[in-house]
Symmetry: C2
Subunit: 190 residues, 2 copies
C-alpha cells in the first residue's frame, strides 16, 4: 500500500554539482546545485536548475557558460559551504582555499582541486518557475590522473563521488556494486 | 594534473528512472532512463530525456503524462531489463511479473511493486538533439508504507535506492552518510 507524500521534489539520488562561473568583472564564483543531470547524449548536454536570485544565475545569463566540478567525499564540506553562502558576499574560492582554474574551452572557471570537471556552453534556457533550467553542451570532461585506472577509465573507488539525498537533506557516498547495466536484466524476464 | 576525456556524458551519480506510460490503445509500458533529475522546486518538476525512437517517447507526446517508479536494490534487474527491450515488442509488465497501477492524477501507469513513485504531467518539451527532454510537473509522490519511518519520512536504509554510474555502466547502492546538507559546510571556511 502506498501513502501520498504530496507534490514535492523527492528523487534519489540527486547529484552534487558545484557550478563555476565568472561575474561581469571576471570574478570567479561557485555554487552548489542538486537539481540537474545529463540531458542529451548527442550533442552531450547537461542540465542544471538555479534560482534567478543567485549570483551564479546572473553570471550564466551574461557569460553563457558554466563548469561543473564534481566533489569527492573529501570535498563534501566545501561543496556544502558553496551551497550555503552567496558569491555576492563571499569569495568562496578564497574562503575555502580553493583555486579557480580558467577553462580554455568555455568562459568559466572550475575548481582545480576537485577530481572531475565538465566544461559547458549554454545552448538552452528554460524558465520553469522558481528555477531556471540551463542546458549546457559539454565541451570537455577533465579528470584528475589520480582517479583514472591504468586504461584511462574513471575508477569509482578512487573518484569517491557523493550524492545528495533530498529527504532528509544529506550527502552519502556510493555503496556496493549491484550489477552491470544492460546486462543484469537479461535474466529478469519470467 | 587533469586529463581530457573528451566531450562525453559522464556525471556521477545518475538516477535510475523507470518511466511509466500508456500507448494510444491504453497498453501500459515502462522504460528505464538515467538522463534526468529534479528541475524546479516550485512548481515541483522533474526532467527526463528520451530518444524519439523509443515507444515511451511517442506515448508521452500523445498522453502528456508519465510516472517515475524508483527501483530499490531488489528491483535492479527488472529496471535494467526495462531499459534493454522495447515496449513495441514486449509487454514488460507481464514479462517481469509486475503490476501496472493506474494513476488517479495523471494519464499514466506506475509499477505497483516499486517503493517510490512520482506522478507527472508534461509542462515542457525540449528538443535537444538525440534526446527530447520532457519537463513533468509532479502531481504527487507516493511511497510504500514499508519505506517510511514512524514519522512518515522516507528511510533510505529501507528504500535502498540505486544509482547509475555512467562509466562504466553499472548500478550501485547508496553508501555511508558523509554529512548533513546545509550544515557540514559551516565549518569549511578557512
Amino acid at each position: 500500500m502506498k501513502r501520498s507524500l504530496g507534490a514535492k521534489t523527492v528523487l534519489y539520488p540527486a547529484p552534487v554539482l558545484v557550478v563555476g562561473t565568472y561575474d561581469s568583472e571576471g570574478r570567479a564564483n561557485i555554487m552548489t546545485a542538486a537539481w540537474g543531470g545529463i540531458a542529451c547524449s548527442k550533442p552531450p548536454c547537461v542540465s542544471i536548475s538555479l534560482r534567478a536570485a543567485t549570483a551564479s544565475h546572473g553570471n550564466i545569463m551574461e557569460r553563457k557558460a558554466f563548469t561543473i566540478s564534481l566533489p569527492g567525499e573529501d570535498n563534501a564540506a566545501q561543496a556544502d559551504y558553496a551551497g550555503i553562502v552567496s558569491g555576492r558576499d563571499h569569495d568562496k574560492f578564497e574562503v575555502l582555499g580553493l583555486s579557480a582554474a580558467r577553462s580554455d574551452l568555455v568562459d568559466a572557471p572550475y575548481v582545480a582541486e576537485f577530481p572531475l570537471v565538465l566544461e559547458c556552453s549554454v545552448v538552452g534556457v528554460h524558465e520553469l518557475g522558481l528555477h531556471t533550467q540551463f542546458i549546457g553542451e559539454i565541451a570537455d570532461v577533465k579528470a584528475d590522473e589520480s582517479v583514472l585506472d591504468a586504461e584511462g577509465h574513471i575508477d569509482l573507488a578512487l573518484l569517491r563521488p557523493i550524492l545528495f539525498a533530498t529527504d532528509p537533506g544529506a550527502y552519502y557516498g556510493v555503496g556496493s556494486l549491484v550489477g552491470k547495466a544492460f546486462s543484469m536484466g537479461k535474466g529478469a524476464a519470467g
